[in-house]
C-alpha cells in the first residue's frame, strides 16, 4: 500500500545537486530557446525600413501569393507524404506481423536504415535516377512511360514517403503484435468473417498507433529542409522559403525569414499538440495473454505477400544502394566515367579532411553533452516532481516543435550580437545539435527511470549510501544501456543534421551534410556520393551496435 502521494523523496528539502541541475535546465531553456525564438518573434513584428513595431511583414506574408503558396505547398506535401506513407506502411506492417514473411528482420533493418539516413541523400539519389538523364527515367521512357519531372512536388513526395513510411509501419506493427488474440477470436466466435473482424476489431485497435505514426510523418515532412532544398527546384515550401529569405535578407533585418519561421513553427506546434492529445486520449491496454498467431500462407498468396513487402522495402533502400554504387565509380571532376575507383574517397580525404573531422568531432562533443545533461534532467523530471520541475518539463519539450531551419535562424540572429556572440564558431554548431536532440534524451532518460523502482534507490540510501553514491552505484548502472543506445541515436542524428547547421556554418566549420549539399548543388556527384556513403555506414553501424549490444528493437529508432 502507499499512503498518499510520495513527495520529497530521499533528500528532504535541503538544496542539493539536483537544485543545481534544475537551475541549469532553466538556464539552457532561457538562453538557447526562449532568447533566440523570441528574437525571431520580435523580428517578424519589426518593420524592415523604419525598424519600429509593425505588422508590415505579416501583411506582406498574407497578401503576396509567393509566401502563401509556400504555405499551401508545405501542407500539401505533408498531406500527400502522410497518405503515401500509410499506403506503404500499413500493408507492410500487416503482412510482416500476421503472415510468415521470410527475412522480416532484414526488411525491418533496411527500412529503418532508410528512415535514419540523411533526407538529402535520398533526394539526391532520386535525382540521379529520375533526373533529366537518370537511368530509371530512361528505362521508363523506353517502355513508353513518361514520368513527371523529378524537380518539384513529385520528387519531394516520392523521396519523403519512401523515407518516412517506416514510422507508420513500425508503429502499426507494434500495435498489431500486441493486440490480444482473444479479441479477434471473440469476434470470429460471435460469427464475424475475417474481413469484418479486421474492420470492426483489428483496425479500431491499431488506429491510435496508425494516426500517431501519421502525425509524426506529417510533422517530419512539414519541417524537412534537405529534401525540398535538393529536389524541390522552384517549388518552395516553408523551410526552404525561410532559408532563401534569410540568405537574401542577409544585409538587412531578417523580417520576412522570421515571419515565415513563426508560421512554420505554428504549424508544427499544432501537429505536436494534436499528437500529444491523441496519444493521451486513446490507448488500449493489452494484457498480452494471447499473442497473435503468425499465419503461414501457401502458394501464390505467399508469393504475392512476399513480393509486396520486398518491393516496398526495395524501393525505399534503392536510393541508398545507388549512392553507394556511384561513390565507387570513376570520376573526372564532376563527370562520371566508366569503371570503378576510389577517386571520390581519395578526393574527400585529400581535399576536405577537416569537414569529415568536424562532423565526427562536433557530433561527439554534442553527444557527450546531450547524454549527460539529458540524463540529469531526465532524473529530475522522473524523480523530483516539485513545482519548478513541473514548469521545466514542458519547456524542455519546445525543441520538438521547432524545425531545424527556425532554430538556425533564431541562433544566428540572437548570437551575432552582444551579450553572446557565437556566430562562425564551432560552438554554435555543437549547440544546435545539443538543443535539437535534448528533448529526446531527456524523455528517454525519464522513461528509463520510470521503469526503475524508486525502492531500489531507497534501498541504497537505507543501507547507508549517500544520494550521490546511490545515483552512481544503483541508478546509473541500471540506466546505462538506455543511455548509451540513446546517445548512439543522438550521434546519428547529429552527424546527419543539415537544416540548422547550413544557416550557421562558415568555411572552417563545415560538416559533411553541408558539404554534400554544396557538392550536389555544384554537380560534384562523386564526392557527394562518397561522403553520403560514409554517413550511411556510420548510421548503419550505429544501428547495428544498438541492436546487437543493447538488445533494443526497431522501436528505439522511432522513439529516438
Amino acid at each position: 500500500m502507499s499512503s498518499g502521494v510520495r513527495t520529497s523523496r530521499l533528500h528532504g528539502h535541503r538544496p542539493d545537486i539536483w537544485s543545481l541541475v534544475i537551475f541549469a535546465g532553466f538556464a539552457i531553456v532561457a538562453i538557447f530557446l526562449i532568447y533566440p525564438l523570441f528574437d525571431v518573434f520580435r523580428y517578424s513584428f519589426l518593420d524592415k525600413v523604419t525598424k519600429t513595431l509593425s505588422l508590415s511583414n505579416w501583411k506582406t506574408f498574407f497578401s503576396k501569393a509567393y509566401y502563401l503558396r509556400a504555405f499551401w505547398h508545405s501542407i500539401l506535401i505533408a498531406l500527400l507524404t502522410t497518405f503515401f506513407s500509410m499506403v506503404l506502411g500499413i500493408p507492410l506492417a500487416f503482412f510482416t506481423t500476421r503472415y510468415r514473411i521470410r527475412g522480416t528482420n532484414l526488411l525491418n533493418t533496411l527500412s529503418v536504415l532508410a528512415l535514419l539516413s540523411p533526407t538529402f541523400i535520398g533526394a539526391y539519389s532520386w535525382i540521379t535516377m529520375l533526373g533529366r538523364n537518370g537511368f530509371l527515367r530512361l528505362f521508363f521512357q523506353s517502355i513508353g512511360i513518361n514520368l513527371p519531372p523529378i524537380y518539384g512536388a513529385f520528387g519531394i513526395v516520392l523521396a519523403d514517403s519512401l523515407q518516412y513510411y517506416p514510422f507508420i509501419s513500425l508503429m502499426t506493427a507494434g500495435a498489431l503484435m500486441t493486440i490480444d488474440r482473444s479479441l479477434e477470436e471473440a469476434s470470429e466466435n460471435l460469427g464475424a468473417r475475417s474481413m469484418k473482424t479486421f474492420f470492426s476489431v483489428t483496425l479500431p485497435m491499431i488506429l491510435p498507433s496508425v494516426t500517431g505514426g501519421a502525425l509524426i510523418v506529417f510533422m517530419m515532412s512539414l519541417s524537412n529542409f534537405g529534401t525540398p532544398m535538393i529536389i524541390g527546384g522552384n517549388y518552395l515550401v516553408l523551410p526552404t522559403l525561410a532559408y532563401n529569405l534569410y540568405t537574401s535578407e542577409i544585409s538587412q533585418t531578417p523580417g520576412m525569414a522570421s515571419t515565415v519561421s513563426i508560421v512554420l513553427m505554428l504549424c508544427a506546434s499544432v501537429v505536436i499538440v494534436l499528437q500529444q492529445w491523441l496519444s493521451s486520449r486513446r490507448k488500449y491496454a493489452s494484457m498480452l495473454v494471447n499473442r497473435p498467431v503468425v499465419k503461414r500462407l501457401k502458394g501464390i498468396k505467399s508469393l504475392l505477400a512476399h513480393l509486396l513487402c520486398y518491393f516496398i522495402v526495395f524501393f525505399s533502400t534503392l536510393p541508398l544502394a545507388v549512392i553507394v554504387y556511384y561513390s565507387f565509380r570513376k570520376t573526372s571532376g564532376p563527370v562520371f566515367k566508366p569503371g570503378f575507383s576510389l577517386d571520390s574517397y581519395r578526393q574527400i580525404f585529400f581535399d576536405v579532411p577537416k569537414t569529415v573531422m568536424n562532423s565526427f568531432l562536433y557530433s561527439l562533443i554534442a553527444v557527450l553533452l546531450i547524454a549527460s545533461v539529458g540524463t540529469l534532467l531526465g532524473f529530475v523530471i522522473a524523480r523530483k516532481r516539485n513545482a519548478a520541475v513541473r514548469v521545466l518539463d514542458p519547456l524542455l519539450m519546445i525543441p520538438y516543435m521547432v524545425p531545424g531551419t527556425v532554430l538556425g535562424i533564431g541562433f544566428i540572429v540572437a548570437f551575432n550580437r552582444p551579450p553572446i556572440i557565437l556566430s562562425g564558431t564551432a560552438t554554435i554548431i555543437v549547440l544546435t545539435y545539443f538543443i535539437r536532440r535534448l528533448p529526446y534524451s531527456v524523455r528517454s532518460a525519464a522513461s528509463i527511470l520510470k521503469q526503475i523502482d524508486p525502492a531500489l534507490e531507497e534501498a541504497g540510501i537505507n543501507l547507508g549510501s549517500p544520494p550521490g553514491r546511490t545515483f552512481r552505484t544503483i541508478t546509473l548502472p541500471l540506466m546505462q544501456g538506455g543511455i548509451i543506445s540513446g546517445a548512439i541515436m543522438s550521434w546519428v542524428t547529429s552527424m546527419n543534421e543539415l537544416s540548422a547547421s547550413i544557416l550557421l556554418y562558415v568555411g572552417k566549420t563545415m560538416t559533411m551534410p553541408i558539404k554534400i549539399y554544396l557538392s550536389v548543388a555544384d554537380g560534384y556527384f562523386g564526392t557527394a556520393s562518397a561522403m553520403s556513403t560514409i554517413l550511411l555506414v556510420v548510421t548503419g553501424l550505429s544501428m547495428f551496435i544498438v541492436n546487437k549490444y543493447f538488445n533494443r528493437g526497431s522501436d528505439t529508432f522511432i522513439a529516438a
Binding site: 500500500m1 498518499g4 528532504g12 531507497e458 534501498a459 553514491r469
Partner: protein
C-alpha cells in the same frame, strides 16, 4: 530506555492528514507491528522513521538519540521492501555486501558476514546468482539478509510478504520471526493482514486514518478491543445494537433486541439507553432444548462448510450475525432457511457505545 520513541508526530500530504498525534514506545528487541487498512498511515510512519519522509511535527528517537535531522542514509535502519528492491544488476553476494562496502569493512569481514547472513536465511550457495534467477521468496530472503547484515539499530519491514503466495507467506513469516528473535534486533513490521500481525508480533498498533487506535499484545487486541474499529478489523465479530432496560442487578443489566432478551454487564452503562453488544463467531454455544440465557434465534441464510469449521450466517431481527462451529459433523448440519438457536455467554460480550464506538467497561475474556 526504549529502543524507538515517536513523540506527537504529525504528517500530511497536501490535504490528506497521513499521521496525527502519533505516540509510540518500542522496547529493545521487540517485534512491533503497525496494522491497518490501506491509507491508514502505517507505511508513512515506517518511511518517516527510515527518513524517506520528513514529519511536519514531532520527534523520533532511536536509542535515545533524536534523529529528526539525520538524513536517511545515516540513520542505520535496515529496511525490507514490499517489492524486494533487490538490485537487479548485482549478484546475491554483492547485494548483501552493499551496505558493508559503504561502511568500508575489510574484504575478509565482508565475505564472512555475507556468508553468515545468507546462511541464516537459507541461501548458502546462491552467492553468484543474479536476482532474475531467484523466486520471489528467495529475493525477499536476499532483501532480509541485506538489511540485517549491517546490524541496523532497527529493522523496518514494509509489507514484505504481500507479494508472495499464501503458502510461502506463512513459511516466511515464521522465518522472519525466528531470525529476528535470534538476532534480537528491534523490528517494526507493517502489514494489513491481521492474521499475520497476530502470529508474528510481540505487540501491535492498530491504525486508522493516521491515528493509532490501540496498542497491545495480540491477545489484547483480539480479546479486548478498545473500539469498534479495532474489533472489526482484527478477526471477525458480530455486533448487535440493543435497547437497555432501566436498572441493574448484580452487575448485570437487561437488554432487548426485538423479541430477544439478554443479560449484559452493567459496568459503565449508567445513563445509556442503547448499547452495541459484540461477540466473536466462535464464542456462541448451542442453545439448550429447554431454553438458555442470552438465547439468539434466527433464520439460517447460508451454511458454508470450510473443512475445520462450518460457518453459519444468521438473520436475527434484521441484523446479520456469523457463527462458527468447529469440527462440524455432516449429520448435525442444519439446512438453509431453518430456524436455529444459539446462546452468547455474558462474559464473552464486549459492549461499545453506539455514539462514539468506544468500549464500555473493562475486561473481556482473555
Amino acid at each position: 530506555m526504549a529502543s524507538i520513541q515517536i513523540v506527537d508526530m504529525e504528517k500530511h500530504f497536501g490535504e490528506v492528514q497521513a499521521l496525527s498525534g502519533v505516540n509510540l514506545e518500542i522496547e529493545k528487541g521487540e517485534f512491533f507491528t503497525l496494522l491497518g487498512p490501506s491509507g491508514c498511515g502505517k507505511t508513512t510512519l515506517l518511511r518517516t522513521i527510515a527518513g524517506f519522509y520528513h514529519q511536519d511535527k514531532g520527534d523520533i528517537y532511536i536509542d535515545g538519540e533524536l534523529i529528526n535531522n539525520v538524513p536517511a542514509y545515516q540513520r542505520n535502519t535496515g529496511m525490507v521492501f514490499q517489492n524486494y528492491a533487490v538490485f537487479p544488476h548485482m549478484t546475491v553476494f554483492d547485494n548483501v555486501a552493499y551496505g558493508l562496502r559503504v561502511r568500508k569493512l575489510s574484504k575478509e569481514e565482508i565475505s564472512r558476514k555475507v556468508s553468515a547472513a545468507l546462511k541464516s536465511v537459507h541461501l548458502e550457495g546462491y552467492e553468484r546468482r543474479t536476482p532474475d534467477k531467484l523466486s520471489g521468496g528467495q529475493q525477499q530472503r536476499v532483501g532480509l539478509a541485506r538489511a540485517m547484515v549491517i546490524q541496523p539499530r532497527v529493522l523496518l519491514f514494509d509489507e514484505p510478504l504481500s507479494n508472495l503466495d499464501a503458502k510461502l507467506r506463512i513459511e516466511m513469516r515464521e522465518e522472519i520471526r525466528a531470525v529476528q528473535k535470534s538476532l534480537g534486533i528491534t523490528s517494526i513490521y507493517v502489514t494489513h493482514d491481521q492474521e499475520e500481525a497476530l502470529v508474528i508480533s510481540d505487540r501491535i498498533a492498530v491504525m486508522q486514518q493516521g491515528v493509532i487506535q490501540q496498542i497491545g499484545k495480540p491477545w489484547e487486541i483480539y480479546r479486548n478491543p478498545q473500539n469498534t474499529f479495532v474489533a472489526y478489523f482484527v478477526g471477525k465479530i458480530n455486533m448487535l445494537t440493543m435497547r437497555l432496560d432501566e436498572g441493574a442487578e448484580q452487575g448485570l443489566r437487561r437488554a432487548t433486541l426485538g423479541n430477544l432478551s439478554f443479560l449484559v454487564p452493567s459496568e459503565g452503562t449508567e445513563g445509556m439507553h442503547e448499547v452495541i453488544a459484540a461477540f466473536r463467531p466462535e464464542d456462541l454455544i448451542e442453545a439448550a432444548k429447554e431454553g438458555s440465557q442470552n438465547e439468539i434465534t434466527g433464520i439460517l441464510k447460508t451454511v458454508s462448510f470450510m473443512g475445520s469449521l462450518a460457518r453459519f450466517e444468521l438473520n436475527v431481527e434484521g441484523q446479520e450475525i456469523t457463527i462458527d462451529r468447529h469440527r462440524p459433523r455432516e449429520a448435525d448440519m442444519p439446512q438453509k432457511g431453518a430456524a436455529v438457536s444459539f446462546a452468547v455467554p455474558t462474559q464473552s460480550m464486549l459492549l461499545f457505545d453506539p455514539k462514539t464506538g468506544r468500549r464500555i467497561g473493562k475486561g473481556g475474556r482473555r
